[in-house]
Amino acid sequence: MHTDRRGFLKGSAAFGAGALLAGSGLTDFARAWAQASPFKPEKGAKLTVLRWKRFVQSEEDAFMKLVEAFTKATGVAVNVINEGLDDVQPKASVAANTNQGPDIFWGLYSLPHLFPAKCMDVTDVATHLSKKYGEWFDSAKTYGMSKGKWIAIPIAYNANVINYRQSMIEAAGFKSIPQDLKGFMELMKGLKAKGTPGGFALGRASGDGNAWVHWALWAHGANLVDKNDKVIINSPETVKALEYVKELSSHFAPGTASWNDAFNNKAFLASEISLTNNGVSIYAAAKAGAAKGDAKMKEIMDDMNHSNWPVGTVGKPTEFHICYPMLGMKYTKFPNAVKAFLDFTMTAENYNPWLEGAVAYLSHPLPAFDANNVWKSDAKLTLCKDAGRRTLTAGHLGSVGEKAASALADFLILDMFASVATGRSTPQEAIAVAERQAKRIYR
């Protein structure tokens, strides 16, 4: 839980604060950028950006600096509104429905694909950026493009990795996290036997919960739909995935069926669990605690590490990292200012400090940013560099649009796993419920 929530950050106040920045490197660069940029904001343009509320303070600070620099360079006032992650989508949907609201939305997963017709075509921005920084990652293209056009710029990923305590897995007889399903089961079993169980959220945790059950599903070669959006969840592979998770969850710490996105963070930081899946925010919290002189936090910080997910029978990573696309709304009065802002955000001189500010909580969608300092700063964070390359997309084989988003919002996969893991249903029953629901969504 963040106790220091700030409701609104008035970006328009950037005018005043910007004076402090005058002469700083970012502003100098910004002026030069404004001269050279192909995207010239309209005269008197003003932008409102609605973004997901930050998880790491230094990321938000860096973002606001970027916004201030943009205002200084272009004269475009930018008002930034912060909303909880779950609230961005409804607000964007209402704005799309009523054709009024913020000019730019920064949400997650398939947000632009919920209303592709309402999103600005930003193909020129995407092309401009890929010319400078290399080819977009495949997953970025999937999230950003619709019918051959770019409708959003996938700004970043939030890597969801395995967080574990080195000393505890060593006590269970392992040096590192096994990268195969069988070995991983053995590890979880061993951890439980040593009295230091791990655990993954089986409650309705839209971030961590969805991330790990989709990994389990895909790792076994199972899928909700095929490439034509035909529902294929009723398969022997799904049964295998469910049976695997049922056994895996028998080695979990108690209570995972009620976990939402915050429970595992709390439990891990209290040394109640040895292993879970999360962004690198647990590590960041431990670091922050250690910096304040908390010995317990220092111990966790030194002992913990991150790992990629084991690769399943399909033979390739089946990780599910969150993507944060930023999109301009078609109804905006200042489309060029929107494009300028998107381009400005992704320009290396701005993007690099911001990515550093996010301390590996966020990862990039373009190969040039592999060189960012954050990937050299701490060996425990380097693995997040590849989040954009390793991740599969919402809907995986199928389309990334509103159907995939609907299935995620309904916790279709998560509930299927949870009801089997808690013993409420047999795999066949759970599959039948999910299949019926999926057929309705994908009709």
Partner: protein, 317 residues
């Protein structure tokens, strides 16, 4: 013209005097006075309700108004195991929470009606759960029910009564009972204070008379207090049932309907389907399906109110 001045009303004449008549017609005037209120109700109650019902007959999605599809949404939700579970959960939640809230609330009201030291302060304290914003109390319960850090598990473990933590929100039935407990905690003050207000209207002379007749405490409650309290009970329980049936915040914060939909209420399911899932038509059908239940609750209390006349000795017309 003098004729007109003498004739008191012009409604038996045609022509311009019709307007004159209208101007003095109390019903006509009353209509205009009612209009603002009626417009308000239509705009903020009838229209949204009508729109909700209409949407439930369409395949509307966010960003797409959709087409009329008749009863398709209803056919779908009736066959949906998750919806059936949500209906069961909602009825169970409403029934158990309302009964417990009533029992505890009435008991508390009777206690508070006695002469206690610091009476005013105790009454104020009782209201606290009702005053605390729902989301705040939900977050407090979130910690109380935490699988790792629950204060209840901790205390019981310290006393050696249990060996492991209680899985409050992870086990389906524990979760249902836990959310009901949180709802009861929040809802009791409303019932207790309202019933207390009712109790204070009971004239002491009735109790004096009953005492002279040799009535026991229970008889006094059953034949004096309870009949007089009935109309208030009917109103307060209607409200309580309606609030409980449409509860949203507690569930959203505590479990979000999990584990696997076993605490999903119709209200949270409707929100998840329509707003987060984007299927407005289906979500509207789920919330429209709540209306018959709510109407039923209102009817029961209405007949409860009707009984009042009969109880007071007049004809049951």
């Amino acid at each position: 013209m003098s004729d007109a001045a003498i004739t008191p009303s012009g409604h038996d004449r045609a022509g311009p005097s019709f307007w004159e008549g209208l101007k003095t017609n109390r019903n006509f005037l009353g209509f205009w006075f009612m209009l603002p209120a009626a417009a308000f109700l239509v705009l903020f109650l009838v229209y949204p309700l009508g729109l909700g019902v209409w949407l439930s007959f369409t395949d509307s999605k966010i960003g797409n108004p959709g087409d009329f599809i008749g009863l398709e949404n209803y056919e779908w939700i009736i066959g949906d195991a998750k919806f059936q579970l949500a209906v069961f959960n909602t009825l169970f939640y409403t029934f158990v929470a309302s009964v417990v809230k009533f029992a505890v609330g009435l008991y508390l009201a009777i206690l508070l009606n006695n002469h206690l030291p610091f009476k005013a302060m105790i009454r104020a304290v009782v209201l606290i759960p009702f005053i605390v914003p729902t989301v705040l109390s939900a977050i407090a319960f979130w910690w109380i029910f935490d699988p790792q850090f629950s204060v209840i598990s901790w205390a019981l473990r310290k006393w050696g009564w249990i060996s492991g933590n209680i899985d409050f929100l992870g086990d389906p039935w524990n979760a249902r009972i836990s959310v009901i407990f949180a709802n009861v905690w929040r809802g009791v003050p409303f019932i207790a204070i309202t019933l207390l207000a009712g109790l204070q209207t009971v004239s002491p002379s009735l109790y004096e008379a009953a005492t002279l007749d040799g009535a026991s405490k229970w008889q006094m409650f059953r034949y004096v207090t309870y009949p007089i309290l009935t109309p208030i009970i009917a109103v307060v329980m209607t409200f309580s049932v309606l609030f409980t049936f449409t509860d949203f915040q507690l569930i959203k914060v505590l479990t979000n309907g999990g584990p696997a939909g076993t605490t999903e209420l119709m209200a949270t399911m409707s929100y998840n389907t329509a707003i987060l899932g984007g299927r407005i038509g289906e979500g509207a059908a789920i919330s429209t399906a709540m209306i018959p239940f709510l109407l039923g609750a209102i009817m029961i209390s209405w007949f409860g109110l009707q009984k009042r006349k009969w109880q007071q000795g007049s004809d049951n017309d």
